[in-house]
Symmetry: C2
Subunit: 333 residues, 2 copies
DNA sequence: GAAAATATTGAAAACGTTACCATACTTACT
DNA sequence: AGTAAGTATGGTAACGTTTTCAATATTTTC
């Protein structure tokens, strides 16, 4: 494997000069620069990143932490993030943290070993060591899609509760009063969206019914189908469903169809996220659009301002969502 | 940031001893080992990966190369690969190579800089430098989902042509004779699946009609819908469609529905891959299942045998596919 | 035309680890 | 008792870069 010394020898210059050419610094004569460039081209030399990182004390790499079982929304968001990081010529490293504590700890250790310049967290983390480490080492961090009261970090969120409220209000405005809720974990955005659901019901004078709420384990279509079957089997009648992710909603539509219930004729369904699939499903899904491109762009822009030190105080930015009416909801007849 | 020297000082031993504890080597007294472990725990020390990689001449990291716009099949495959690499305690680094040559070159350079121990390619690459680099440096490589005549590398594939043949034969057996084909690029698996389509027609004595073939740019639902509209607008009648990926098929179903055509009553559709969504769509998709878990497992197992030197000769392994009949195909009435 | 400033260059230190070698001490076997 | 073989330990070189410093060469300025 060819090293900087080989290039220096080949171009008959010192390693310092090669290094200067490599890092596009000044103070290199045109003659020597061309010789070095020629040697590099000839050998196909690329500097060893490990060596470079070690001595320069920076990795030009940003860690993006995602759940191992990321859904379409997270997948699209990370695409945007990766794309924008490249614009700022940063490398992107992905870290998948599984849902158990042990997996999260493993993720943190890999992350520590890599001495990253910055971190973007795309999902809530559970172990406190994570936050401790980032704060203790003053590593620029952006929390995307969530925030924490006990963490004074730059974050980018949406107004989850209001968005959920809008979704449920739409169903209510169509005449629905028995509205099922397909949710998830008791913390994080799932719980906040449930609050929005409750508030919409309360505002409309509809009693909250525990029997109409079902919690999914993960945000997959399969779980959405399972949850919907559970709901149907409870025999508490409902004419509409609000699912907290599009995948859950799509799974719900599948399960309803299996029981001979048509969407939106028999049951109206509204999702959340507006993943690509939402506009291609049959029927097309009524949903809340999260501004994925803007979220990705903002997350990177904010991180960049932290990295360059142009901004020191952590900012909390909330982006607007949009209600998208498609074909999965209809007026109650 | 705490280093191995700090730990050595704190535990009152030499750095050599700390290194031995870190790498779980022998020749360390229980007494000193506990002192070192205690110091590590106390400081939260994690060895610097860059330093470790540089001197040890190995990174314990495998690069997984994926297209930037990976589809669900590739997403599921990479999940399996990442999971199995972890089992063998290798790190996984993802490299996204865009479809243009420049993007691929950038991908290669990052990969070179990282001095990976091995590579798994999840999609065909275009620039020859890639292969040159891997071969010149004898980097253990596994080609997953494709192979190359001019590349004597370990590969794991399916019999693309036979699988496509099976899919089209199914349509023919249902009485269809005017079968549309939604394909893609002129190289790689897209072209091979087209061959399977042609062979099936030929075997059944059906003339190949160029008007029934349409090429998508990417394998997304959107492209599937676009392609289908093109096909309909050509006014060459068809009663069935074979799409070379499930996403294309799902997009096709959407476009057909938009034109008032019902699946499978008016048109039968069969896809390829059997992504999760295929069993949740309305209607459920008839498709060819690729053995994703086995492919991921085999890819990693083969790479491991290359890494440990237990196998030197490149193996080409072909895995069987399964035809899955669901609801998107019906007998021609 | 001399002094000052600036550009070009290379030598050597440093980064944080592991690998290798040397030494001191045990233990085991003739 | 004396040698061989092993265990525990530390010192130091090495890895491939960038950074810093010092030395020269060239240009600018008055």
């Amino acid at each position: 494997m060819v090293s900087i010394k080989d290039i220096a020898k080949l171009a008959d210059v010192s390693v310092s000069t090669v290094s200067r050419v490599l890092n596009e610094q000044e103070h290199v004569s045109i003659e020597k620069r061309t010789r070095v460039l020629q040697a590099i081209k000839q050998t196909g030399y690329v500097p060893n990143r490990a060596a470079r990182d070690m001595v320069s004390k920076r990795t030009t790499t940003i860690g993006v932490v995602m759940p191992e079982t990321f859904n379409m929304f997270q997948r699209q968001l990370f695409s945007m993030v990766a794309h924008h990081l490249e614009q700022f010529s940063y490398y992107t490293s992905f870290y998948f943290s599984s849902t158990d504590l042990q997996g999260e700890r493993a993720c943190l250790n890999r992350l520590k070993a890599d001495r990253l310049d910055g971190i973007i967290l795309l999902h809530e983390i559970m172990i406190p060591e994570f936050q401790t480490y980032l704060e203790a080492n003053a590593i620029p961090t952006v929390l995307a899609t969530f925030s924490r009261k006990d963490w004074q970090a730059t974050s980018i969120t949406i107004s989850e509760e209001d968005a959920a409220l809008t979704a449920v209000n739409h169903l209510i405005s169509l005449g629905h009063r028995k509205i099922g809720f397909i949710g998830g974990e008791k913390y994080g955005f799932a719980s906040v969206r449930l609050e929005g659901y409750k508030r919409a019901l309360k505002d409309a004078g509809i009693d909250f019914d525990e029997q109409l709420v079902v919690q999914a384990q993960t945000y997959t279509m399969e779980e959405g189908a399972v949850a919907t079957r559970t709901l149907i089997d409870r025999a508490t009648p409902f004419t509409a469903l609000f699912a907290i992710t599009d995948e859950l909603a799509l799974g719900a539509i599948r399960a309803l169809a299996d029981r001979g219930l048509s969407v939106p004729d028999d049951v109206s369904v509204v999702g959340f996220d507006d993943i690509e699939l939402a506009s291609y499903s049959v029927p097309r899904l009524t949903t809340i659009r999260q501004p994925i491109p803007e979220m990705g762009q903002m997350a990177v822009a904010l991180l960049y301002s932290l990295l360059t030190g142009s901004s020191r105080t952590p900012l909390s930015i909330s982006l607007p969502t949009t209600f998208i009416e498609r074909e999965s909801t209809a007026r109650l007849v």
